[in-house]
């Protein structure tokens, strides 16, 4: 007598409403027991049509919408868009703006990584990490509020400068942050680095080799976790990054734990860059002097005829950049964030394409989880650090 055995797999839907998917992501899993045979991510549950909406806005009106893509790192998005338009217009910004932008975007990297470490640890079972991480995050949000008047969606950078001058107590606030956050990071490391549960859930999980990572187009900490040294800040410096000293941490084991270590180290490096930027910040205007493109100073608008006309024309009509296509990449906390702007010579962009780091990183999820256990899927999704607003746009 022969017994016919049939291998049967089970289909499991994870999401779109699931506490561990970091938003509205749906992953269709095919399981053999507890082993994942096949994973198919389904995205688009937060598709906002942002790229289409850009085409109907004047250039400077696009900036608020960039915040709402990667809402964990609003200033990085602002910077990416502003630099791309500045490249298109070929304008230079004052030295003070460069330093202020670097200082603020590095602090943005810190808040993005703080939310990441909090939610990632929460997914794996360390509930209290979220509360600690948000405690430190509030400090930087207070700085945002002092600068831009908004806690999260700051929209602080403008084409050719900043929206307002830096607040008077900017230096004091940043020094305070630079003092307090390293203490917090020490706390997290004490909590997680040698935590038995955390190590067992992350070491050797979600491996992806360097060749595969490059082939899948991974960028940011995920790529560096596999030991590939690619950081846009070092490879193709933008916004004056060549003036700052910092290290790019690299991983060896290509697993979730290495990506965690890299992000923790990146936070320290970011704080050091922010310190250098603060120390070296010169005094000067907070906007470039480009008549017809960048808003003139408010005092001039109230007293001088030409400034008033320029102000009125920029607000109502915008400006007309030359025809052409530019691509500008920055290193956002998630990876390479690129803005690809095509201008047809009118006052609205003809097409704005965002190269979303999370989108491409997420496409490598099946590579990481297939063959692993079901519980490891959570750790892998967490380690990629996706923001669904940016994935779907």
């Amino acid at each position: 007598m022969t017994v016919e055995t049939k291998k049967k797999t089970m289909n499991l839907n994870m999401g779109p409403q699931h506490p561990a998917t970091h938003g509205v992501l749906r992953v269709e899993l095919e399981l053999d027991g507890e082993t994942v045979v096949k994973a198919t991510p389904h995205i688009g549950y937060l598709h906002t049509g942002i790229e289409k909406t850009y085409e109907s806005k004047l250039y400077y009106k696009c900036i608020p919408m960039t915040d709402r893509m990667d809402y964990l790192a609003p200033m990085s998005n602002n910077l990416g868009f502003c630099l791309a338009v500045e490249k298109l217009l070929d304008i230079e910004v004052p030295e003070k703006v460069v330093y202020a932008r670097v200082c603020l975007t590095e602090l943005t990297r810190v808040i993005s990584h703080l939310v990441w470490v909090g939610t990632h640890a929460l997914d794996i079972g360390a509930m209290s990490m979220l509360l600690y991480a948000f405690r430190e995050r509030e400090l930087i949000l207070d700085l945002y509020e002092a600068c831009a008047g908004q806690r999260m969606m700051s929209t602080y950078f403008r084409i050719g400068g900043l929206a307002y001058d830096l607040p008077k107590d900017f230096e004091k606030r940043v020094r305070d942050i630079l003092k307090k956050i390293p203490e917090g990071i020490k706390d997290y490391e004490r909590l997680l680095n040698d935590n038995m549960i955390f190590r067992k859930r992350t070491i050797g999980v979600g491996k992806i080799s360097a060749e595969e990572a490059i082939n899948c187009g991974l960028t940011g900490p995920n790529l560096r976790g596999s030991g590939v040294n690619y950081d846009v800040r070092k490879a193709n410096p933008y916004c004056g990054y060549e003036k700052f000293n910092f290290d790019v941490p690299l991983g060896k084991n290509c697993d979730v734990y290495d990506r965690y270590l890299i992000r923790m180290e990146e936070m320290k490096q970011s704080l050091s860059i922010a310190k250098q930027a603060l120390d070296g910040m010169p005094d000067g205007p907070f906007r470039a002097h480009v008549p017809g493109v960048v808003l003139p100073p408010k005092e001039d608008v109230l007293t001088k005829m030409e400034s008033l006309i320029f102000h009125f024309k920029i607000i109502t009509e915008g400006f007309k950049p030359p025809k052409g296509v530019v691509y500008n990449a920055i290193e956002s906390p998630k990876g390479e964030l690129g803005f690809f702007i095509s201008s047809d010579g009118t006052n609205k962009p003809h097409r704005v394409r965002v190269r979303p780091p999370s989108f491409v990183n997420l496409s490598a999820l099946p590579k990481m989880v297939e063959g692993g256990m079901l519980a490891d899927v959570i750790a892998c999704i967490g380690s990629i650090d996706i923001v669904l607003g940016e994935v779907d746009r």
Partner: protein
């Protein structure tokens, strides 16, 4: 009637409505449901500085079957709309809805093909919280307004039982 004088110490008399509403508003369990940017502010509200546990709301339920309140935090895309409707239908009565932020309330800055122009087209909303995104204090204020609303409800209202 002088009944109050006859009952022993430590016992108070109230109407059933008041007692039920008091219990409902003091242990409201929200659904752990986040959509976009506002979800991060919602997490901030639950986290250290703002600490929503002060109002008996620290337990985020991952399952709609155990939740009383759904905070729609963020923009709702056309693709997500059926999911939200299903989640709402799965929640047992009584249930309340807070629409958090401009996008959930009216579409916000995204008046386009992909976004539902206000969640009230899909599910009934009790409280609208304005802002893009609202500050945690604003959300807490919205929750306080919801408490006021819950206090006025009656068990005779069939829809809420």
């Amino acid at each position: 009637m002088g009944l109050e004088e006859k009952i022993p110490e430590g016992i108070a008399i109230t109407s059933l409505d008041k007692m039920v509403n008091w219990a409902r508003k003091r242990s409201m369990w929200p659904l752990g449901f986040g959509l976009a940017c506002c979800a991060i502010e919602m997490i901030s509200t639950f986290a250290s500085r703002y600490d929503l546990a002060r109002y008996g709301m620290e337990i985020l339920r991952p399952s709609p079957r155990q939740a009383d309140l759904i905070i729609v935090s963020g923009r709702l895309s056309v693709k997500m709309a059926p999911v939200l409707k299903r989640l709402y239908d799965q929640m047992p009565n009584p249930k309340w809805v807070i629409s958090m932020g401009a996008c959930a309330s009216c579409g916000g800055v995204f008046n386009n093909y992909a976004i539902v122009q206000g969640v009230d087209k899909i599910i009934p909303v009790d409280i609208y919280v304005p802002g893009c995104p609202p500050r945690p204090e604003q959300l807490i204020d919205g929750i306080m307004k919801l408490y006021e609303k819950v206090e006025k409800e009656s068990l005779l209202d069939k829809k809420k039982i």
